[in-house]
Amino acid sequence: MNFLAYYSVNDLIAIAPQLILTIFGFIVTLVDLWLPKTEKSANAFIALMGFILAGIASVMMFDTGSTSAFVGMVITDNASLFIDLVIIIAGILAIAMSVNFVDREDINIGEYYSIILFSSVAMMFFASTYNLIVMFISVETLSIGMYILTGFLKNKSESIEAAMKYFILGSFASGFLVLGIGIMYGLFGSVDLNIISLDLAKAAAIYKALGILAFMLIFIAFGFKIAAFPFHAWTPDVYAGAPTPMSAFMSVAPKAAAILALMRLLVVGMHPIQIEWTQMLWIIAAATMTFGNTVALWQKDLKRLLGYSSISHAGYMLVGITAASSLGYGAVLFYLFGYVFMNLGAFSVAEYISKKGDCNTEIANLKGIAYKHPLIGVAMLIFMFSLAGVPPTVGFIGKYYLFSAAVQSHLYWLAIIGVINSAISAYFYLNVVVTMYMKGDAEGEFSVLNSGLLKTTILIGAVGTIIFGLFPSYILSIALHSIAF
């Protein structure tokens, strides 16, 4: 068989960011063998280099048109490059958070970084395909990476438990996914969403009904990945148990990939049953927002709070998808971009107050941090207001576009449910601010992890949250312009 007849160099160019990350993943694995135990931080440096180069590659490839590689199995377009960038920024910030953390927790081994790199590759593939099998393979690859990273704190029982929970529930989700794909293939004889869409459009009623069933099975897996109600149950436990930098990474990167993949599935593949899926998504979006926010009201632990809050943010993003318009899809991409900064920033603050064993992240422990570390306090204030959606932050602009897309598509009630949820969420985000600023001065110790890199992460998060809140125009037009489906 002539290999070159099917594949060319152009295929490799089309997946340049993924390729770069893969190569650096291997470099980390190899270099790690020769590194003495005290020099393991070099791994982080290599991984960072990988992310930065991949970032440069995706920026350079932007606007070069949609490229199809490997006989249509991988599609590199602006939307996937945009999500690549989100994943890369999340990766960079998560690694910067990790350097001192892994030292303190004594898990400083090369695999930590190489798994981040490899699972990022999987995420990128997940976001850049119309092929259900490629989606399945990449979702499995990224999940395995996430399971391992969740359980990386091998001396902490919560971490192991979280990994087990994540793994078992994740396997269930995969089962549904593969079953759905199987039915889809059985019905239409293809795993390519473009072809499925064409066949679904002209399918007889019974096949259409079966198609909807298959779609729902596939959706379960996606709902699980983005933590949408009622498939969200793993989220708080996993975020609370996983190493903090990985909770931060997980709350953004895989979600970003899954959201874009979901949009591809819905908008391209399931176009003929749009009426059905908008109805379904309407309910799921409303339930996800409401559930995430209401349960978050009772949280005492910062990481768990952010876990529930991430459920509600998935709900907000689903509002944008339910709107089913280019403004909605663009708004979702923009939201993900902003979410990287505010959410990773908030997790960095959680790490800032954590102690050895990755504990001590209760909200009460933030007491007085605003006066002992004024800049960290201000940064956290910015993150909390941004997550609650108060101007002039990126969280507000993002939510504004999501809800305005809903209004444009006449989903007034969904928009109203959304804004009421914003008001509910303000309560628990403000509670964090109350603890920091209004519960007296601190006697407690902070900054066990007083590393420059961690502080830089927090700073980048805060500056990004404000800058993209005040001047969203550029990123927004890129996000809107990236949506070509």
Partner: protein, 520 residues
Amino acid sequence: MNQLHFPILSTIVFIPIIGAILVSLIDSKKEGAIRWVTFIVLLLDFIVSLPLFFYFNSSTYQMQFVEKVPWISSLGMNYYLGIDGISLFLVLLTTFLSPIAQLSTWSGITQKTKEFNIVLLLLQTGMLGVFVSLDIFLFYVFWEFQLIPMYLMIGIWGGPNRVFATMKFFLYTFFGSVFMLVALMALYFLHHTYYHEYTFNMVTLMSQPLPVNLQFWLFIAFALAFAIKVPMWPFHTWLPWAHVEAPTAGSVILAGILLKMGTYGFLRFNLPMFASMTHQFVDIILIISLIGIFYGAFVAMVQPDIKKLVAYSSVSHLGYSMLGMFALTTIGIEGSLMQMINHGISTGALFLIVGIVYERMHTRLISEYGGLASLVPIFSVFFMIFTLSSIAVPGTNGFIGEFMVLFGTFESHKVFAIIAAFGGLFAAVYMLTMFKRVVFLKPLNPKLLSLTDFNIREWIYMVPLVVFVFWIGIYPNTFLSKMHASVNHLVEQTKVTNVNPSLNGKVSFDNKVIIKKALN
């Protein structure tokens, strides 16, 4: 139109932010320097705002000192500032009251002085931004932004129940404004549907009619946000808490400026944009305003705490402002505007007065006082002036405002005006009773004997307030003449029942009609 050819409004809005950066650079132990820098910045802001008054062209209702720069141009959002006769005085009131409020904190705020002054400066930017924005989106950004510093101010420097008060304040206002957000989006898309243009331009939106059934929902959403802010009965419950717990400067700014954002919102959005709905809602709002006037007065009567009494009197005073506004006559609306300014001055001053005695005695209970007239005569005289202005005695500013409101209301709604006039009677009852018990009689509390009269700083910030009490009271024309053109235009706008008959109420957007049908 920008007669100064200079971005004066941006300068006024952003001077406080620059000040905040300056203050943040000062060592937090140098409290004196921090206070002086903040005060000078706020004073400078006031001085810079004075040309607005002198160069204001009172013959036109057009927006003046306009600045317009594209902001998020892909969605029709601009950085668009400008003022007319309605916002002019609210801007000036803000720049005028802020240095006064700041001066009042010099001895009261001793903890975290640096943070306090930074928060105060940020608040100033937020409030000014609200009054000068002519782009609705920009307006909303400022509207929400000012919540953050106010929230911190009450929550950090407030009284014993500050956390509860600040949460209540934030959540109430935030809850109201999210409805405004949805309405704002709807307005934006509706405008595009009917006029094929994406814009947040307030001036354009004000002059273009919309179908009645849509106006109904938009009116309610905007009104809810503003009614909570005003606060109108029954949305007022956050106010006494916020006032009582806030530090003096916070109360002054809350009463003096923040509440005006609500009434200003009604004037800017509800009246001109949904004029025909305004006519539908007039009676309801007038009744609610009346209830507010009497409710505020009755509850104020039984308050043992001076500050709470003044807080409830705010509910009553703003009821007048709303009454005049929804009389929809030129005099009524001008009276309403005057009442906003008056309330800022008189109630602001009363909060300062309460703050002054509280700082010395650490109590605000009326029963702990008595006989101040003989102990601190200057204080008592000032107190009396503001009390009289608050109950609208002729010669003071309060009289002008209340008279115009009642006169304007009488023109269009006689019964309401007659009922409302009795409200003034009750105001006299609670204010004078309180004044008598605090200032006259014999000193009840032996601790009062150590009370000292005004110091120089207090003189400095009380005198300008008194000047305005009499200036407005004796020669209000200085102010009224500048409002006239704009208010007249507003009244014209509300007279035209702005329903566009050619527009069908049933909207059909470019896409997704099918989905909509499916969902219903």
